[in-house]
Symmetry: C2
Subunit: 478 residues, 2 copies
């Protein structure tokens, strides 16, 4: 008999949320640290989650006419510098290639921190007529930003993402694109990741370097900290002018096109961990789970049990589910703990008694609920219970979000609420940078967004007492 | 009416094959040059071909149990240097990151030229027991090799590829993996890309830096030059020892695992261009064609024609084909030339007369053959004709390969045959490096491979007259 494998323990989230998070990243075998400081390795299980996210998002992008491309990873410094705000925003975080083989390069090359400049440079050479617009491009790649402190998925020097870059004939079309793609992210979070989001606009201070406007989806983690889920930027014709991208318009005159970009990253995996995980490990929303159901035979030494379990597995696989089976000689306790750690949405148990009764037992990862399932209803019930897991996760996350949004009417009150409860603190705001900086300095919170769904809480700014322009959400963010 | 668009002209391949190749790359909108020397941009149409290649290959890799991962793109110099042969092989072509933000790095970091070192470093930390073997990993990414002269797809400083890296308990298993993956590439070339290949082993001189053995699939282009299509490497336990990768074996003792790697790149797109293209442009094998059929209405101003063509398109799309329609006001001549340039395997024409007769016309890109298709047989005939295009391409490429393999019995004869006919020159070989160098120097040919399918042409080496060990293929290669 094999030696009993130890069930891996993780820190309780109530005790140390940060350590709990790191424990899950490692023990669920999502990532491993690399020997290069600040870089991580996406292991097979972590990458499989990313692949599912990519497949679904990529399908959505293509439905709305976007096409994938691949731009060079290195950007000449002179090209990067053509748009001043962008380079100022990213320069401190750029990794520079200065040598090719044994020769010193004449001009150093930036490892892309983001690719607006490359797209503009390309467009300046291929765009001619309004007939070629819109250009709806996307690429899946990795980028580097030389961060000082790093954490798996949330902040690492290299991360994987998609960056959409589009070019339009009119400002209105570009604005509509920005909105459409923000909604695409919001739907993905809510309908696929089971994480409710707040949609809104970033302040001038928090917007993307070089953008005219940045829109965001913001989520709430289980420790009541905020996480920026995905962003969509409107550039107007600013980059077009800087990079001399022009086209002949319907009026036969040269015009500057209007531009957007939008991105979502592997940090979505971090969001899933912190929105749904528990003290037994990861909890995965079914649509992105590499394994949606795992079949675990009970008393598998009894005759026919393994064969019965394999038949279950085969039926579920044939029905299109991502299903796995564990007939190893590890103990039942170890197996259950292992698949809980890995966040598999449904565990399917079948033992000798179940076989006699023509049934199996499905155990939900999100709440431990057991359901006896008649074998003739196997495929249908699997689908229903996976949907129930998704709905259950979303509902818990929705309550977590809604119960942690607090109105405040002064910086002091905002500070107190944040310290006591965490979450989003909503206040009225005059729109001035000074008040935003004051909230950061005195209450330790950054502005998260100016939600599209506005409420009128008061007439005056919570910070300075001047007339308020908008309601704004503040929070402590990852 | 819109101004008549000019049909783009390309150079004839008989006149200047290299220019013909570049013309197709640009005019079919596959790639564009970037502003960084030696780097290219994969445009939507080129990238869509790559996506189809990726999807099919990735599916094959997964069927045999491989899992995708993502390794860091930067490799510390000290890590890269642990295995001497590898670093000697790649050092002259490495791009080095020496600065992160504004700080000079203590150790320079290589942009990966290939990732054996990263995989070994990772495995040295996560592998414990024989129970965890084999580890069957793959990653899709870009790599940089600082080449002096570059050509789209064939040789560029950055290219896109997959690199498989696997670890096994025994040498036999690793050897079997190397073989399996080589056959995977061979099948992909023949059954998907419609390009016949010669399978064989590389000589010591031509093998991958650090490998014990390199296996290859070699193809023949229309100009009778050779192209290395994909390679699979056996490392023995050489890297395991260099990087201290160990596991506890079945005998409870520490052992070194056996390793393989295998890769195929965007150069496969170059192979498709040069194996199938003609003087009207690209010719795409149906399985990787972004558009498999394009519907072009004839006399589309006549009532009902556009609607009829759209109905055709809808039916073909519903049947799962990648289909497009062109109802633009460009001329029929322009449209035909355009889709020929882009290599669309089947053009579907329908005009008023066809509608009356309940038919359409399908025109094959590979040979211009027209087939009248009854509408009730639309979906079935589309499938048959796409298969016919694949078969037709393969057959032409097979003849091109088989008719350009020439036996030679001296270096002089080999040189003469190469100069007169190109192709593969097959000779007997003693196995000595000196003879390989002589063939290069005197006849301008590199060894392509020692084919698995051996023939006994003579008893002695064509170069030195000593007893021959094997038959070998020589050629001028891309």
């Amino acid at each position: 008999m094999a030696k009993e494998k130890k069930v891996e323990q993780i820190t309780d989230m109530e005790q140390d949320f940060a350590q709990w998070y790191t424990d899950i990243c490692r023990k669920a075998e999502l990532v491993e640290y690399a020997s290069v400081k600040g870089f991580t390795i996406l292991r097979p299980y972590g990458y499989a989650i990313w692949e599912n996210m990519q497949r679904i998002l990529d399908g959505e992008f293509k439905k709305t006419g976007h096409q994938n491309v691949a731009m060079p990873v290195l950007i000449p410094e002179s090209l990067l510098k053509k748009e001043g705000e962008l380079v100022n925003g990213f320069a401190p975080e750029v990794a520079w290639v200065t040598m090719g083989g044994s020769e010193q390069l004449e001009e150093r090359l930036a490892f892309r921190p983001t690719s607006e400049t490359m797209f503009c440079d390309h467009w300046s050479r291929v765009l001619h007529s309004y007939r070629e617009l819109p250009m709806l491009y996307n690429q899946w790649c990795s980028v580097i930003r030389w961060e000082k402190t790093t954490r798996p998925f949330l902040r690492s020097r290299e991360f994987w993402w998609q960056e959409g870059h589009t070019l339009h004939e009119t400002a209105e079309e570009a604005q509509a694109e920005t909105e459409q793609q923000l909604n695409c992210y919001a739907d993905f979070y809510e309908k696929v990741l089971a994480i409710p989001v707040v949609r809104g606009r970033k302040t001038e201070k928090e917007k993307f370097a070089g953008a005219e406007a940045t829109y965001t989806v913001e989520c709430m983690m289980k420790d009541h900290k905020a996480l920026q889920g995905g962003t969509s930027h409107y550039f107007g014709d600013k980059f077009s002018r800087a990079y001399d991208v022009t086209f002949t318009g319907r009026d036969n005159k040269l015009q500057y096109p209007f531009q957007t970009s939008w991105g979502a990253t592997t940090r979505m995996i971090g969001a899933v961990i912190m929105a749904h995980g528990d003290n037994n490990g990861l909890v995965l929303p079914p649509q992105i789970a590499p394994i949606q159901l795992v079949v675990v035979p009970v008393a598998q030494h009894k005759p026919g049990v393994i064969e019965g379990a394999q038949a279950l597995r085969d039926r579920l696989a044939a029905a299109g589910y991502r299903v796995s089976i564990d007939t190893s000689d590890n103990s039942m306790g170890w197996k259950c703990a292992q698949y809980e750690m890995k966040g598999v949405p449904l565990r399917v148990e079948m033992g000798p008694r179940d076989m006699e009764n023509g049934q199996c037992v499905m155990v939900r990862r999100d709440n431990g609920e057991k359901t006896f399932v008649k074998l003739e209803e196997l495929e249908q019930k699997a689908g229903e219970l996976l949907q129930a897991v998704h709905d259950g996760l979303f509902e818990k996350a929705r309550i977590n979000l809604e119960e942690h949004i607090y109105p405040a009417f002064s910086v002091e009150e905002a500070k107190k609420l944040q310290e006591e409860h965490g979450g989003f603190i909503k206040t009225m705001w005059c729109g001035d940078l000074e008040c935003e900086l004051a909230m950061k300095e005195k209450a330790g919170m950054s502005s998260r967004c100016i939600p599209f769904q506005q409420e009128h809480l008061a007439d005056t700014c919570a910070c300075c007492g001047k007339p308020a322009k908008t309601m704004i959400y503040w929070g402590v963010a990852y």
